[in-house]
């Protein structure tokens, strides 16, 4: 089977700084990483390939330096990598990004066989929208399975796949027809360490680099800033919470007295909650 995994190179959020005046993220000098959720998507793709055979193609859109992320994906064991890079893509929002990626996935299909499954992480840690995966599915007419926590049985003959999906209040067991797009949750499987042979191959591999035209993209108005209706109205850094921890003197008090004192403190801090609690308690 042919599996495409969309990854994104993101700034390492553990080391990011916010500009004190403009409130924008200062990316300069901040190390980049593969979006952590995408690593789980890649791992699931590799496991599926190891199980059923076939190839994994990794795709990213970004500046030329995003090649580092692709090479890393190859180190994990992906078979080929495609970098979609063009100055026309600068400033893309999720709508423009999903357009460009869907076109590139089509092109990948023409070049190396139509993908049976497209994987993405559940969202990126820099945008946090979780929109690009579903956007690609919609544009390519793929069945979409979001927030997937486990991949189950795959029947290539019947062209079906079963997955577990995290939903509010539980886990859904779903089956759908291939081709499908799956967005993967964190922690689904342990991420492998690439074999030495894969690492050597990755170090030498040629990453396929496509500009817009090479990816078959002709409608430039759908790309980059021009194709992005999203407008950033305001950027602000969240204020630290002003509420301070409150300490109770625990000396010479029984647990009952402490509980009383703690509730009194809570009712002081959140007036009104006492009535709600009493009403709730009255029901039982």
């Amino acid at each position: 089977m042919h599996i495409v995994v969309c990854i994104k190179q993101v700034p390492d959020s553990a080391q990011i700084r916010v500009h004190p005046v403009h409130n924008t993220i200062m990316r300069q000098g901040v190390p980049t990483i593969i979006n952590p959720y995408d690593l789980f998507a890649l791992e699931e793709a590799l496991r599926l390939r190891d199980r059923l055979g076939g190839a994994v193609t990794v795709l990213t859109m970004g500046p030329p330096m995003a090649e580092d992320s692709l090479r890393k994906a190859l180190t994990f064991g992906a078979d080929r990598a495609v970098l979609l890079t063009d100055r026309f893509f600068a400033g893309s929002d999720t709508l423009a990004t999903s357009y460009a990626l869907s076109m590139a996935i089509q092109k990948i299909g023409e070049s190396w066989g139509t993908p049976d499954v497209v994987f993405t992480g559940k969202q990126t840690i820099d945008g946090d929208t979780a929109q690009v995966g579903p956007g690609i599915a919609r544009r390519l007419g793929l069945n979409q399975l979001t927030y997937v926590s486990a991949i189950g049985a795959v029947d290539l003959a019947a062209r079906t796949i079963e997955v577990s999906r995290r939903a509010e209040g539980g886990v859904q067991e779903l089956a759908t027809r291939l081709p499908a797009l799956i967005t993967v949750l964190e922690g689904t499987s342990e991420i492998r360490r690439g074999r030495l042979a894969d690492a050597l191959r990755a170090a030498r591999a040629e990453v396929t680099v496509w500009n817009a035209a090479q990816a078959g993209i002709t409608e430039m108005t759908k790309c980059g800033l021009r194709g992005s209706p999203t407008v950033v109205k305001n950027v602000f850094a969240p204020k630290g919470r002003a509420t301070k921890a409150s300490l109770l003197d625990t000396r010479e008090k029984t647990p009952g007295e402490l509980a009383e004192a703690m509730m009194a403190r809570i009712f002081d801090a959140l007036p009104g909650i006492e009535g709600d609690l009493l009403a709730h308690a009255a029901q039982y």
């Binding site: 000098g29 030495l196 170090a203």
Partner: protein
């Protein structure tokens, strides 16, 4: 599965490893470089000053795209006591030259750039790959490496160990001894961020000019060590290091020394208002010439910190690393061209070439210094105090006549060490320095 064979494997992607791999790859050899960090520089710690000359000999055009912070126009050398410093400053506009001689750098950025050039030169570079052991044939000849990744060993005609101060691979292979506390210093440093214009105003700088402060004295509490403060573009690196042996004997932690150094009145105001965003610690092989291990053997060479190539007196290390890496690689290339094996006998040429370079000449020149300082703790404690007191007497205008002041200074000196002590100290230093 067939084993892949390289002309050379370089372990490590610091200045020494990068210089070696770059030189080998440029000469058309098939090179594999292995680095345990996520990327070259991710685990590397230095003050850090780049001495241009060593890099220029590899890449004359490095200034075009290397990530450099500031070029040094002023050097301050301070002898510090508890609340003062007696200094010698040298600042010159001639350091504002077309090709400056020294720069401050940030190693995580610089090493990454350097390693990119290594890859562009044609070397195969694997990061996040730790060499676990050297592979030897039945005659004990090193023929390759094993890594922590699943898969076969990788073979090579020669393995260059540029693995840094700890030298764990070499140690495990029995090529060297375990690190001695008397041979390494433990240095800690912090990166203090400040706006560019604040640094410029505080240190009297314009453009990319930078200042270096090297300090010694009571800040190391009688132990052998030095402290430093370097100006980067938007940050100040401040750190202090002492010999591990001294730290252990005195039960002092490096971080406590750094806190005290930062609180010193001469330093505090320079760091005021800054934000600390990085903290790092590293061992520095400061044992000098006597700590240099065996440098070559059957199928292997050792370069850089792993070979203890650090000139502690002049605060030089990365330039010795790059130079030794280059010379090691040149030796291998020379043997390859002559179609000769990388046997211990042939690789002895590496040592001969090093002996002819500043690397070994400088280490030899100062070979007595580490022991001298260890045995004469008062050098870094008593003399800074005497200098400070003399300056106080000399500069304070208080109605005392100058001849009496001179007399007081001389009496002070004599009381502190006695004539014999002073002459003896001068003699010892002169002998170690010569």
């Amino acid at each position: 599965m067939s084993l892949e064979v390289f002309d050379a494997i370089v372990i490590g992607a610091g200045p020494a490893g990068n210089a070696a791999a770059y030189t080998l790859a440029k000469s058309g050899l098939k090179v594999l470089q292995l680095e345990r960090g996520e990327y070259a520089g991710s685990k590397n710690v230095q003050g850090a000053i780049l001495y241009a000359d060593a890099l220029e000999k590899l890449m004359p055009d490095f200034r075009e795209d290397a990530p450099l912070e500031r070029h040094i126009v002023e050097q301050r050398m301070w002898m510090m006591d508890d609340n003062s410093h007696t200094g010698m400053h040298y600042r010159s506009d001639s350091f504002n030259e077309e090709k400056p001689n020294r720069y401050t750098i940030i190693r995580s950025q610089f090493d990454r750039w350097f390693n990119r050039r290594v890859r562009e030169a044609g070397a195969v570079v694997l990061c996040e790959t730790t060499v676990t052991e050297l592979l030897k044939d039945t005659n004990g000849r090193v023929i390759g490496v094993k890594t922590d990744r699943h898969g076969d060993a990788i073979l090579a005609d020669v393995v260059i160990l540029a693995e840094g101060v700890n030298g764990l691979v070499g140690q495990r292979a029995g090529l060297r001894q375990e690190l001695q506390p008397a041979h390494v210093a433990l240095a800690v440093k912090e990166m203090h961020f400040l706006p560019e214009e604040v640094i410029a105003a505080r240190f009297n700088l314009k453009g990319d000019e930078g200042v270096v402060i090297e300090a010694m004295g009571t800040i190391t509490k009688g132990m052998v060590g030095t402290a430093f403060l370097y100006t980067n573009r938007e940050s100040i690196s401040v750190g202090i290091g002492c010999m591990v042996q001294d730290l252990a004997e005195n039960r002092v932690s490096s971080s406590a020394l750094l806190e005290a150094f930062k609180a010193h009145p001469s330093i505090r105001s320079l760091l005021e208002g800054s934000e600390v965003r990085e903290y790092a610690a590293h061992l520095i092989p400061e044992g000098g010439y006597k700590a240099v291990p065996q440098l070559y053997g059957e199928g292997w060479l050792v370069v850089g910190d792993a070979a203890h190539f650090v000139n502690a007196v002049h605060r030089e290390g990365s330039n010795l690393a790059m130079t030794s890496g280059r010379i090691a690689a040149e030796t291998v290339v020379w043997l390859k061209r002559r179609r000769e094996a990388c046997s211990a006998e042939n690789l002895a040429e590496y040592r001969r070439r090093l002996e002819a370079s500043f690397v070994m000449k400088d280490l030899k020149k100062y070979r007595g210094i580490p022991a001298l300082l260890h045995r004469n703790k008062h050098f870094l404690d008593l003399y800074p105090r005497i200098a400070s007191r003399a300056a106080q007497i000399w500069l304070r205008v208080d109605g005392v006549d100058k001849r009496s002041k001179e007399g007081e200074i001389v009496r002070d000196l004599r009381a502190a060490r006695g004539w014999r002590g002073l002459v003896g100290d001068a003699f010892k230093v002169a002998r170690a320095w010569r």
